[in-house]
């Protein structure tokens, strides 16, 4: 339970932010936090708190798998790359051929989530394929 004490503020923040299906499990000296954030801002706030307790994430004692629940299939999501276009690929993986591009800040439709990393999207121009989930954010 030592880690739950160390990261008490993080777990309290998760509760305050309304993270649903929140689970905190300690196993082999690692604290696994799972749940679904109600918004992208809530997820960011949670990560800020984590970064405050463990600066630069060096302790290797937390795995926090919290996704944003509003990003469900059917909704529009925004492409949040640094500045470049987002590759749309034939399959889920960077080894898959690029079949299209979505522009920076373009709104695309989330078709389905293949896994936590790769989501099937469709652009308004009708291009459909897999994109890296990290560069897709909920609309604010």
């Amino acid at each position: 339970m030592a880690l739950q004490d160390k990261y008490k503020e993080l777990l309290d923040t998760a509760k305050t932010l309304g993270i649903s299906n929140l689970q905190a499990r300690e196993q082999d000296n690692v604290l696994y936090i799972d749940g679904e954030a109600p918004s992208g801002a809530a997820k960011d706030q949670l990560w800020n708190t984590y970064g405050k307790i463990d600066p630069d994430f060096r302790s290797a004692d937390v795995v926090m798998n919290v996704n944003v629940s509003t990003m469900a299939p059917g909704v529009k999501v925004v492409v949040t790359t640094e500045k470049s276009n987002l590759n749309i690929r034939k399959g889920p993986g960077t080894d898959q051929p690029i079949i299209g591009k979505a522009a920076h800040h373009e709104l695309v439709t989330l078709v389905s989530k293949t896994n936590d990393q790769w989501w099937l999207i469709r652009t308004d121009a009708g291009e459909e394929g897999y994109a890296f989930a990290q560069y897709l954010s909920p609309q604010n």
């Binding site: 990560w47 994430f57 004692d61 798998n65 993986g93 960077t94 990393q117 790769w118 989930a133 990290q134």
Partner: protein, 162 residues
């Protein structure tokens, strides 16, 4: 006068004897409470006593501890009967163990996640992701958020932050 006193004494003596033998409810109550206090068979137990009949409430882990509490209370002097209203708690299912990704899908996931950070090297061994190389401070949370969704055992961050 003296005779009257003797009669009175004779009349009351048996009653005095009987009542001194009979344990008072409050005495039983404190004896029961002392028994329950350090009893591991029951949680949050309380007891009420009326005419030597003890009513128990509280939570027991199973039938065995419920009857164990019962018999330990029955042994207390003056207890005529025990009404055991202790409830049996159903144990909370212990949380499912954390599932760690196999190295193959994990390695593939890590390759994808680090693709846009060419100065980051990542290795995967028995579910542990080890990061070396360097990264911009602003990119670190983004990379971490992405790696944390891959169900690794843990992430050893040995990156130099620029």
């Amino acid at each position: 006068m003296k005779k009257q006193l003797t009669i009175l004494l004779i009349f009351f003596m048996p009653w005095m004897l009987i009542s001194s033998c009979k344990e008072s409810d409050s005495k039983i109550q404190s004896a029961v409470e002392a028994t329950l206090k350090d009893n591991k068979d029951v949680n949050g137990a309380s007891a009420s006593v009326k005419d030597g009949v003890v009513t128990l409430t509280g939570e027991c882990n199973d039938e065995m501890s419920k009857s164990a509490v019962d018999s330990s209370v029955r042994k207390i002097k003056g207890v005529k009967d025990v009404i055991n209203n202790c409830t049996i708690v159903t144990p909370q299912p212990s949380p499912a163990p954390v599932v760690i990704a196999e190295d193959d899908p994990l390695t593939k996931g890590v390759t994808d996640a680090t693709k846009d950070y060419p100065s980051v090297n990542a290795t995967v061994q028995d579910g542990v992701i080890t990061l070396t190389g360097d990264i911009k401070k602003t990119d670190l949370p983004k990379l971490m958020m992405s790696l944390h969704t891959l169900k690794p055992k843990k992430i050893e961050n040995k990156l130099t932050i620029k």
